[in-house]
């Protein structure tokens, strides 16, 4: 009679669970660091404020010229006050399920969506700094994923 006896299942299950836990931690680290990479990359998409475009009136009010030589050059947004660019940062990191982690990165100024997506005054495509940032972060994010998940699997 042929017979197959199998043992060692408990250890196997433990090993699998341990691997899963390590992978989950790696996933958390990946989305956290990945969010920062996207943020940095989005900040790199901005064009410096043109010299001479900032003026101060006699009353002390600050103006930024946006016409003529100071006009915006698509698709890169031009820094005026720098508020939107400075506000780009990692917004959250959360676990959205077992082994599933999510992070969000973006600016906090109210008018940022107009810049990114356009408006009735800004034709589409507008100044998609986040999209470009994400696109340009592609390689770095891939490298990060490879590194972290490889480490987790070692």
């Amino acid at each position: 009679m042929g017979e197959i006896i199998i043992s060692g299942m408990v250890q196997f299950d433990q090993a699998i669970r341990k691997d899963m836990a390590k992978m989950s931690l790696a996933a958390k680290e990946f989305v956290t660091k990945g969010a920062d990479i996207i943020g940095d990359s989005a900040k790199e998409q901005w064009r410096a404020r043109p010299g001479g475009s900032r003026t101060v009136s006699k009353s002390g009010k600050v103006y930024y010229k946006g016409t003529g030589p100071y006009a915006a050059r698509r698709p890169m947004p031009t820094i005026r006050t720098g508020n939107t660019r400075s506000s780009i940062r990692r917004r959250y990191v959360k676990e959205v399920g077992s082994g599933r982690w999510e992070s969000g990165t973006g600016p906090s100024t109210d008018y940022a969506p107009f810049l990114e997506f356009g408006s009735r005054f800004i034709s589409t495509p507008a100044f998609p700094f986040m999209s470009m940032g994400v696109e340009n972060a592609h390689e770095r994010i891939d490298a990060l994923a490879h590194r972290l998940f490889n480490q987790a699997q070692e």
Partner: protein, 609 residues
């Protein structure tokens, strides 16, 4: 404002996704992209990125290796096509390129391009290797580009401004000159070679003299070719005086012939002339500016005046540069190579080169690899249970993406194009597959998949050759004695799976245990532990059926033997096909069990009669 969707880039990592099949990943990707679109985000690219990152869990080792190997092959082809180097020479260069790359942490394709320049210049063998080696070390120390440094070294040799100096000495001189030179390395190499270097070389200046002048002149802001050419023209005027210029110099109290003789002295000509003018100026009270204008010409007054004002610096720099040596270059490279950044870069480069070597191994074996990839896909199609585990899902991914990559690459590999037609069923492999996705995945193949795939690829190849060595290579050297833990190899030898397989094949009556029902095939229950649940079985690699195949219909029939574990499956297949002897089979089991232990869990299979 509140109605607007916020601009948020979302990054998702799903480790379950990693465990899922390629199709599931595909659906996920599209679903994610759609969601992003609906929410007003314009992040399709990002969706791809996130999914790629998820799919790309692990490392794109094999895809990368093939990429690297293709690039490397391209460089080698360029060398052969453009320089006229023989196939043997190119073959030798493979090793040289990797060696230099490993030592200097410069990528192999850059080193290959440096070799291309050298070979195009007609240099071969040891001299070519030496020049590229020095150029690479010089580039590492100076932070320059190895190809342009190589071109500079070739140019210096052609201009013959470094006569009597070894290539290593010239390299060291370039390193020293770069320290003195204010400006980019490119501007320095522009002075040492090309139009400027040629003009200065024509006046008899040697490399050290030119570099010392460049050091002082660049610090004063003279970086244009025009100013150096004006200096060269002025020197030529002194070295070849005309009757009228001699008369003019005589009026200043200078002897044109003596001045010409001094100027022609290699290594120190310019410095000596300037010293003579300075002495004359002090002696006669004639301003240096006037003396320079009448000797060198009006065009070079500014630069020569600067050199005259810094005559000691030029002289010291010249002396220091003349003392450059090959040993110093080695010492400087040694110091650089101890720096942490270099070591990290070197580690990275060496890893790349190792992968390039691996990729090169894969490339010529396109047929075998493609067969493997196709075989792997078919195998997983036949074993639904196996598809549930991550490594095998990614292995499927690997098989498809690798085959896709190979198919893409074939056209680029000279001489292999005809192989395309010889790969059975390669085209049909992609009939129902999204090639765009395969392209993405090909660049993001998971490491675990690669590991498994390589093992199986090796197995496929070495199995055909029918050898224990190949199997041992696949499953790890050395022995582990899990069998001896309880019954010893005798238990296997006593009956052996092959024997069981033979029994199945020949239809000999026997009782087979059905792990799913917990009963034997003759309907009699057997005692012993029950198999774990389906998920665990799947994680272990599924259950393999070994069954007799009808020679007439090609279909399985008769009783079947079921063995757990995908590697055992591979083992069984080899045994079934008669490619392993019983002894080899048992040894492979021992090796397999060692690998088992390395995975931190134990899978013990006992087969008794």
């Amino acid at each position: 404002m509140g109605l607007l969707n916020p601009v948020i880039a979302t990054l998702l990592a799903d480790t379950k996704e990693y465990m899922a099949k390629m199709n599931e990943a595909d659906e996920k990707m599209h679903k994610f992209g759609k969601t992003a679109e609906e929410s007003g985000g314009k992040f399709h690219k990002f969706a791809n990125t996130a999914s790629n990152a998820v799919i790309g869990v692990g490392a794109a080792i094999t895809g990368y290796a093939i990429d690297q190997a293709l690039k490397f092959n391209e460089v080698l082809d360029n060398i052969q096509n453009q320089s006229g180097a023989s196939a043997e020479e190119v073959d030798r260069l493979k090793t040289s390129i990797i060696n230099v790359s490993n030592e200097t942490a410069i990528s192999s394709d850059k080193i290959g391009n440096a070799f291309l320049q050298v070979e195009k210049a007609g240099m071969r063998g040891a001299s070519a290797y030496k020049l590229v080696d020095v150029a690479a070390k010089t580039a590492v120390i100076t932070g320059g580009d190895v190809v342009s440094t190589t071109q500079t070294l070739i140019g210096i040799q052609r201009l013959q401004i470094a006569r009597g100096m070894s290539v290593a000495q010239v390299g060291d001189l370039m390193v020293n000159a770069n320290k003195m030179h204010v400006g980019s390395l490119e501007s320095l190499t522009g002075v040492l070679t090309g139009k400027v270097g040629g003009a200065l070389a024509a006046t008899g200046m040697n490399l050290a003299e030119i570099a010392s002048i460049s050091g002082v002149a660049s610090a004063a802001g003279y970086g244009t070719a025009k100013s150096y050419v004006a200096l060269a023209t002025g020197l030529q005027k002194i070295e070849s005086p005309t009757a009228s210029s001699a008369k003019q110099l005589k009026a200043l109290g200078l002897n044109a012939d003596v001045l010409a003789q001094t100027a022609r002295k290699p290594g120190t000509g310019l410095v000596d002339v300037l010293k003579m003018l300075e002495v004359q100026s002090r002696r006669t009270g004639i301003p240096m500016n006037t003396l320079i204008k009448d000797t060198f010409g009006a065009a070079s007054v500014g630069m020569v005046q600067t050199l005259a004002n810094n005559i000691n610096k030029v002289s010291d720099a010249n002396k220091k540069l003349q003392q450059s040596s090959g040993a110093d270059l080695s010492i400087k490279f040694g110091l650089t190579s101890q720096q942490l950044n270099f070591k990290l870069k070197q580690l990275e480069t060496q890893s790349h080169n190792a992968l390039t070597g691996f990729g090169l191994l894969l490339l010529p074996d396109v047929t075998a690899v493609a067969n493997f990839a196709e075989g792997a896909v078919k195998y997983f199609q036949k074993h639904p249970l196996v598809q549930k585990i991550a490594s095998d899902a990614t292995l499927t991914l690997f098989g498809a993406s690798l085959a896709f990559k190979v198919a893409q690459a074939i056209g680029k590999i000279p001489g292999l194009g005809t192989l395309l037609g010889k790969i059975p069923g390669l085209g049909s492999l992609f009939k129902s597959t999204d090639t765009a996705l395969l392209t993405e995945i090909a660049a993001n193949t998971a490491a675990t998949a690669t590991e498994g795939a390589i093992a199986d690829a090796e197995l496929a190849k070495t199995g055909v050759a029918g050898g224990l060595a190949g199997f041992a290579k696949t499953f790890g050297e050395g022995a582990l004695n899990f069998i001896s833990d309880w019954a010893g190899p005798a238990a296997i030898v006593g009956l052996g799976v092959k024997n069981l397989v033979d029994m199945v094949k020949t239809g000999k009556p026997m009782t087979i245990y059905d792990p799913f029902s917990g009963q034997t095939t003759n309907g009699q229950p057997v005692s012993g532990p029950q198999l774990p649940n389906n998920a665990t079985i799947a994680a272990l690699g599924g259950v393999v059926d070994v069954q007799q195949v009808s020679p007439s219909t090609g279909k399985n029939f008769g009783p079947s033997l079921q063995v757990l574990g995908k590697q055992l499956d591979a083992l069984n297949t080899l045994g079934y096909e008669g490619k392993l002897t019983r002894a080899q089979f048992n040894q492979a089991l021992l090796n397999f069990s060692k690998q088992d232990q390395q995975r931190n869990y134990s899978l013990k299979v006992r087969i008794t009669g």
